[in-house]
Amino acid sequence: MGFLNAVRSFIVIFNYFCMAFTLLLSFIYIIQLFVSLFRVHRNYDKTFSDDFLSYVDSDNLLPISLIIPAYNEQENIVQNIRSLMKLNYPQFEIIVVNDGSTDKTGELVVNAFHMHKIETSIRYQIQTQNIEAVYYSKKYPNLLYVQKANGGKSDALNAGINISKYPLFTCLDADSRIEKDALLRLSLEFIKDSRTVVAGGIVRIANGSKIVDGELKGFSMPKKLIERFQIVEYYRSFLMGRVFWSASNSLLIVSGAFGLFRKQTVIEVGGYKKNTIGEDMEIVVRIHRYMRKNHRKYKVKFNEFSVCWTQGPMSLKDIRSQRRRWQIGLMDTLLSHAIMTFNPRYGFVGLVSMPYNWIFELFGALVETIGYVLLPFTLIMGELNMFFFVIYFLLSVSLGVILSEGSLVLEQYTHRAAMTAKQSISISVYAILENFGYRQLITLFRMEGILKYRKLRKTWGKIKRKEFEQ
């Protein structure tokens, strides 16, 4: 009897805890939404008088090395390089780092761009696996192809940094496309504030849409439900979360698909960390840590107008693998830099951003899952006030919808020509529907990531992609 009472009390207390947790998180999200609305509105107005295209001729524009780590990317690699060559940027080089692919990635690149092997000097500022060969093409002088032994994505990026010659570099996924002016817009963050060391662009889901040379030529709704839900999810994550965190210079993640870095800073912190699957977050957190520890002035920025298109997973299996990987990457980074948490030495990053990621992004999944598990017990034990439960459920769904709808408004603001009114309204239906099943499923995948952290923390996994529609 005593045991049952204890269980009963635990369930009741935990239910209240879950409720408070959800409401607190929603409250934080709503603050994020309002800050983002304000920032995006202001930034959009600013772009009116910015005349960013006039910077194309500016001496201040820093040349950029575009590093594409490629491992078995034969489907997209050539098409991606061709699309990058059409970027509206005065001085850039493309470095394709073949990380020991077992398919025809290398052969395709070398043949498509008439490349030949050269001997070149490489400054090994960051330790990497052996670089076996470097290829160059006189016809495409801003393209380099590097063949190296397999060492993982981080190692490939580090090799790219070693061989690059420009002060800024960007890491790009072989299966993503960046818009023609995206690099120019992003590099302005470095011109306008010389303290900027990292700048991230917005990543949008390309599924269903027609992307030609990185430009959206027609938005249409993807066929599968999970692809539609991801569109809403990405808007929320980028337009709400990242705009907010960058406003307080405490953005902890810049998407691996599209981020611009000051090379010298990355070299100073020792390059990308090997043997982690969350290298994109880890490098940014390490930069925060290094800069704050050394009392250096710096900025980590986010530009919502620099667009990169990527393909979201198309099957449940792939989305499970992706979200599990993201969660493991998050956990790995937080554990590696746990010392920063609640540490005033690291300012807002240590006192707010890191704890937020621990509590809500990492353990949020845990709390939510336990909440789902305990719900039937609460019902069985008669501890659940049905009226209250329904109200609470509707409240939490409504808060979720407010956030998703809010990010759709933000999207309509930043990328005005993308969707028609009809499309905009129809996608908003998915902002409601995602709360019934999809959100819970994603939570379970995240939970799985936490549970399988030890086992999977060095496994990348491959997501099935198809060629971009041309």
Binding site: E119, S121, R123, I402, A421
Partner: protein
Amino acid sequence: MKIELISVIGLLLCLLIIGIEYILLYRLAELQDEHTARTENIRRRLDIHVEGVLYAPTDGSRNAEITAMANEINGDFTVYEMAVEAIREHNGSSFSGDDEAKERLIERINAQVDPVAIYVKMLDEGDVYHKGYACRRLAELNAQEYRDKIKDCVGSKDRDLSYNAAMALCRMGDVYEVAEYLLSIENDTLYSGRIVNEFFAQFTGDRGELASLIFEKCNKYMKCTVIKTIAIYKLDRFRPMYLEGASGDDSQMKIACVKALAAFGYPEDEQLLQIAAGDKDWVIRSSAIRGLSLLKTQSALNTVKHALGDKEWWVRQTAAQVITRMDISPKDLEEILGGYDRFAADAMKNVLYKSVE
């Protein structure tokens, strides 16, 4: 009961917010649709006018077409800009490839549309962003008579507006205002460096005069920045200052002055550049190597060859890049490539592989 009541109120509030968001979203999307349809419509009509203007058989009919286009523009700056862009980018008519003729045509359109009046109105009535935009456009149209209005904006508390207005004056060649603006930001070292660079690049007046005015009152940081920026313009009047700075003890000034002197490529500076090529600061060494490469004397070539083995990668790389522009003999080349100095050979190979098939 109390908490349940609060929850119900909270829920109702949420539903209200969702409703507002839906209306906002729908309105934004609708506006976007209207805007897209309107733009397409205007573009279609403009295309007809543009063709009419460009392909008009007589001057009289061209005038009539210009009037029709001016009526279509009807004081709307976006339509005006679309029309101008369409004319500039149009290919196929007798105007193709003749940019000057196109510009003359745009001037005739301007005479009827009066874009200056449109932008002045924007400058008077718009918010800070519109004001900034109007300043830039007025400068492009060289509306000197509105310089005072633009000057008023330079003093704005909004940094973007202040920048846009000063940039407009820069394009109008207003030496005093631009100098004052640059001096006003000289202590903001995070900002002023790139502004100096941009302003000198866009300045349409006498760059030497602008630099002189700044040198009279500026601090050391601004002085060095301006010297480095104007190096590419090779202004002889500042050579004595460069020579003094290059042989002085101040390292920042030395970096700037060596860079400026190196840009001239004068034989009389060779000795100074030779000394600078041995400086402890690699930035100075690198600039000196660049300067020496313009001289093409045997002694300069020897120094650049020596720099191929410099301990600093950037200096080696600079030397390798510039040596190919010098009169290097096959024997010298062979010596470097097969020589004991691995760094020199590597740097050379890197450049040669990219320039020789």
